[in-house]
């Protein structure tokens, strides 16, 4: 059976060009980039190249890039750096729709004496910007906001918000793991101090990420150890994956236009066809401020895990915000923060596309999904 992978906000396929770039560095050029000999020095040179490529993707300068092990490490590093550089400030601002990497860290910090403001969103998932601005105080150590939401694809106006936050002299961090490679991300046009990105969301392997740290930002390492990464992250570099992230960043820049055009059109086709073929369906989020590859669709009166397992029989891979799939008993905190009614939250499915998806695949989903929804609704006591 052919796999139809439309779960690219979860992870992506490693691009064959990325893999090719990485392979020699497993067992041919395996030197330690910190070594004095030229065998290691050549590897260090490759890391420099990767740093330039990652920086160029977000219009940063190479020395503003710190390689990490994942998006979560980047987020943790940024937030810890901000609060430890201003130990007298005890207030953190974030949103109610963050990825667990930020949400759970902030909840953890709230138990350690920090006051955390979780800024609400509206029914479409858009941030209540005024609420945010009114929450800024002299005691605020950091504002950390997700650039584009992993579940709904909703994009926050990070450039505008960062300018207001910076005017008050408060550190601003953004989790841009889902935004990078899908919409233009230019740190020069915004005032963000720190920005997290992740390799495996942009066709690099899992286990590598990066943190942009703007020049002049007070910083302290999260992993304390050797002098790697200019003393900003201890630990021998994950050389192979960093080289992969470099290549993937170069490709992501080249592919951005395709994502916003062709992939966006496929997503729009999927959405409009499902909306026209299936009754009682709603899209979570609006159409103007959303990632071109993402759609969160709620099918009322049925449950998401059932839908996922039925489409799995056809090789279709997607995600759900339902309770049964979240590992807890409650539906996704993102959908709940948006006020999506229970009738719809439990039956939400996220399709997230990539440049590898074809029109035939989208047509296949459009063909297979409606009878599945009808079947499950016929089993449901709430239908009709």
């Amino acid at each position: 059976m052919k796999t139809i992978y439309v779960d690219n906000n979860a992870t992506t396929r490693v691009d064959p060009q990325v893999l090719d770039a990485m392979l020699p560095y497993f067992n041919d050029f395996y030197g330690n980039p910190s070594s004095m000999h030229s065998f290691g020095g050549e590897v260090a040179h490759k890391i420099d190249e990767a740093r330039i490529k990652v920086a160029s993707l977000i219009n940063a300068s190479p020395d503003e890039i710190v390689f990490t092990s994942c998006g979560t490490e980047s987020d943790s590093t940024a937030i810890h750096a901000a609060i430890s550089s201003t130990p007298d400030k005890k207030h953190i601002i974030t949103s109610r729709v963050e990825h667990p990497a930020v949400k759970n860290l902030c909840e953890h910090l709230s138990k350690k004496g920090y006051r955390v403001t979780f800024v609400p969103v509206d029914r479409k998932g858009m941030l209540d910007v005024d609420y945010l601005y009114n929450s800024l105080t002299d005691d605020t150590a950091i504002v950390s906001l997700i650039w584009a939401n992993n579940e709904t694809g909703m994009i926050f106006p990070i450039e505008e918000i960062s300018r207001v936050v910076k005017q008050k002299g408060i550190v601003f961090h953004t989790d841009a793991v889902q935004a990078v490679g899908k919409v233009p991300v230019d740190v020069d046009k915004s005032k963000v101090d720190m920005l997290s990105l992740s390799g495996h969301k942009i066709h690099a392997p899992k286990g590598v990420g990066a943190l942009f740290v703007r020049k002049g930002t007070r910083f302290s390492p999260f992993l304390i150890g050797g002098h790697q990464e200019g003393g900003r992250r201890g630990g021998t570099e994950n050389v192979v994956s960093i080289i992969g992230l470099g290549k993937a960043s170069e490709l992501a820049g080249n592919h951005l236009k395709e994502v916003t055009t062709r992939v966006g059109q496929l997503r729009d086709k999927l959405e409009s066809e499902l909306l026209s073929k299936i009754p009682n369906v709603m899209i979570n989020g609006d159409s103007e401020n959303r990632l071109p590859n993402t759609t969160s669709i709620s099918f009322e009166y049925i449950e998401g895990e059932s839908i996922l397992l039925m489409i799995d029989e056809f090789g279709i891979c997607a995600s759900s915000g339902s309770a049964c799939t979240s590992g807890s008993l409650e539906p996704s905190h993102v959908l709940r923060a948006m006020g999506v009614p229970f009738t719809a939250a439990h039956g939400s499915i996220r399709f997230s596309l990539s440049i590898y998806n074809t029109e035939e695949e989208i047509d296949f989903i459009i063909e297979k999904l409606p009878p599945i929804i009808e079947h499950l609704r016929n089993l449901s006591p709430f239908w009709k």
Binding site: E107, C324, G327, L329, F342, L379, S380
Partner: protein
């Protein structure tokens, strides 16, 4: 991904006896949309009290649908009395087991069956017995006790897997632990309660409880609470932030705040919400 047995997958993908029996002799409905699963079971019973037909409608995940389908297969052809003896474990075993986190799906089946049998026998609808412990999923202390006893549950996680209690805001975890301890015979240490307090002392304690216990919990969800007044053992509060606009959570909230204040200040206190 959940580890489902082949039998679970089979009953999910090819559900047996889906639908509704018109003019059923017994109907059992449990669960709700908010909870994430619900089951409507309809029975046809012949003159020798044998279940001649059973059909189900289920809203829920794969294991909920599979448990319902399995249940109908198990009860068709047996007598009402025999069906009454079926436990949630029997349903899970029929399916070759369910993941621990999904055992509540088998409990859903058992509950629907009990209701359908009671309905057939013409017994009045049972009132919810006991006191609500888990506000998020509306689970009572007696339901938790029963699950702990029948399935020899040891941890809060187990209880959540079987009856969902404790799977939401987690505020009831202490109470669940107390129930587990009391069923399993572990001594329970009761907190000392304050009964003979002056009004001033009560107000101070209420303020302390709000600040230390209640506010941090509400703030997690963007809400807040303010003490407005205190008179005749009634605590008047105002809910702010997102709590004030969420009508669904208001009942829960009032109950939660009241429970905390009764527990930590004095049992005779009641909480009233002041209009916005």
């Amino acid at each position: 991904m959940w580890e489902y047995t082949e039998k679970v997958k089979d009953h999910f993908l090819n559900p047996r006896n889906a639908g509704v029996i018109e003019n059923a002799d017994g109907v059992g409905e449990v669960g709700s949309l908010a909870c994430g699963d619900a089951l409507k079971l309809t029975l046809k019973v012949d003159d020798d009290k044998k279940i001649s037909d059973a059909k189900f409608q289920t809203f829920g995940c794969a294991s909920a649908i599979a448990s319902s389908s399995a249940l109908t297969e198990m009860i068709k052809g047996i007598t009402i009395d025999e069906a009454g003896k079926i436990t949630n474990n029997d349903i899970a075993e029929y399916l070759g087991g369910l993941p621990k986190e999904k055992m509540h799906c088998s409990v859903l089946g058992r509950d629907a069956l009990e209701k359908a049998i009671a309905n057939y026998r013409g017994e009045p609808e049972k009132k919810v017995d006991g006191e609500i412990v888990c506000e998020c999923f509306g689970v009572t202390d007696l339901e938790i006790q029963r699950a702990v006893k029948e399935n020899s549950l040891k941890t809060i996680e187990d209880v959540t897997g079987y009856v969902k209690a404790g799977g939401g805001c987690e505020n009831c975890h202490d109470k669940i632990q107390e129930i587990i301890d009391s069923v399993n015979g572990t001594p329970v240490t009761k907190e000392t309660r304050h009964s003979k307090l002056t009004n001033i002392q009560k107000i101070r304690l209420i303020e302390e409880t709000l600040e230390r216990e209640i506010k941090p919990e509400l703030k997690k969800d963007g809400g807040d609470i303010e003490l407005i007044d205190f008179a005749d053992n009634t605590v008047f509060v105002k809910l702010c932030g997102t709590c004030s606009t969420c009508s669904a959570s208001q009942l829960t909230l009032k109950h939660y705040v009241e429970t905390k204040i009764k527990e930590l200040v004095s049992p005779e206190l009641v909480v009233e919400e002041v209009a916005q």
